[in-house]
């Protein structure tokens, strides 16, 4: 289990290699990479800045990871979230879940993202190419995605 908050980009292959190095008990590795899209709310995006709550971010991501390990038999997991200024096409977040079997890895990775989206203290501020912008509103669909897990589905 590991969490990391960084301005630097990440390398998916290197992270998978680090998690699986020297092990032969992992049969399935699922990764999720979130990218900045060039269009948001009908406008062309110029840039985005991610603010977070240092200390709580790491603590909350670790709690989310612990919860995933309690729910699924995971051999390893990783959450990397970038902060600071980002441009369209840039990677924002990486989640990796490794298990003996694929369904646990898929479900745990989806769970980690759903919980991260509603619980990890990050906030996005967008600037459109027309100069307008502001703080991104939370999406109701993210809250319902998290509640799905709480209902045990």
């Amino acid at each position: 289990m590991a969490v990391r908050v960084a301005t630097a980009d990440f390398d998916v292959s290197a992270e998978i290699a680090a998690l699986t190095a020297g092990r032969t008990d992992i049969g399935a590795v699922v990764t999720f990479t979130g990218l900045v899209r060039g269009e948001a709310h009908g406008k062309s995006l110029a840039s985005m800045t991610l603010e977070h709550y240092p200390g709580m971010t790491e603590a909350e991501l670790a709690r989310i990871e612990t919860e995933a390990h309690a729910r699924w038999p995971l051999q390893a997991s990783l959450i990397v979230h970038r902060i600071g200024p980002l441009a369209p096409g840039d990677a924002i977040v990486l989640v990796v879940a490794a298990s003996a079997h694929r369904h646990a890895a898929f479900e745990a990775a989806a769970f980690l993202m759903d919980y991260l989206k509603t619980r990890a203290p990050f906030w996005k501020k967008e600037t459109a190419t027309d100069g307008t912008g502001g703080w991104v509103d939370a999406r109701d669909s993210d809250t319902s995605a998290e509640q799905k897990w709480q209902a045990g589905q």
């Binding site: 991610l50 977070h52 990890a120 996005k124 703080w135």
Partner: protein, 85 residues
């Protein structure tokens, strides 16, 4: 009770500060009471803290409901719903 308050995203921007140390009157024992007390400061604070459900709180870096007790807390953060990922 002396406590550290932290503000993030548009809460921070509207208040014009990212943190402050405050001394609370003894009758302020829950998150919602603290928000009502902050809302009474001035119009800007009323705009930020006077609409329940719009902003979220964390006590000592753990998400907290409006009804949560703030007894013994070292830091309380206020922020909009999170939008990372």
């Amino acid at each position: 009770m002396t406590i550290r308050l932290l503000y993030f995203a548009w809460v921070r921007e509207k208040l014009g500060r990212s943190e402050e140390i405050v001394t609370l009157p003894p009758e302020i024992t829950r998150v919602d009471a603290l928000m009502a007390w902050l809302a009474g400061r001035d119009d800007v604070h009323a705009d930020v803290f006077g609409r329940p459900g719009v902003i979220r709180a964390a006590i000592d870096q753990v998400h907290a409901q409006p009804s949560a007790s703030i007894a013994g807390a070292r830091e309380i953060a206020f922020f909009p719903p999170v939008t990372g990922g």
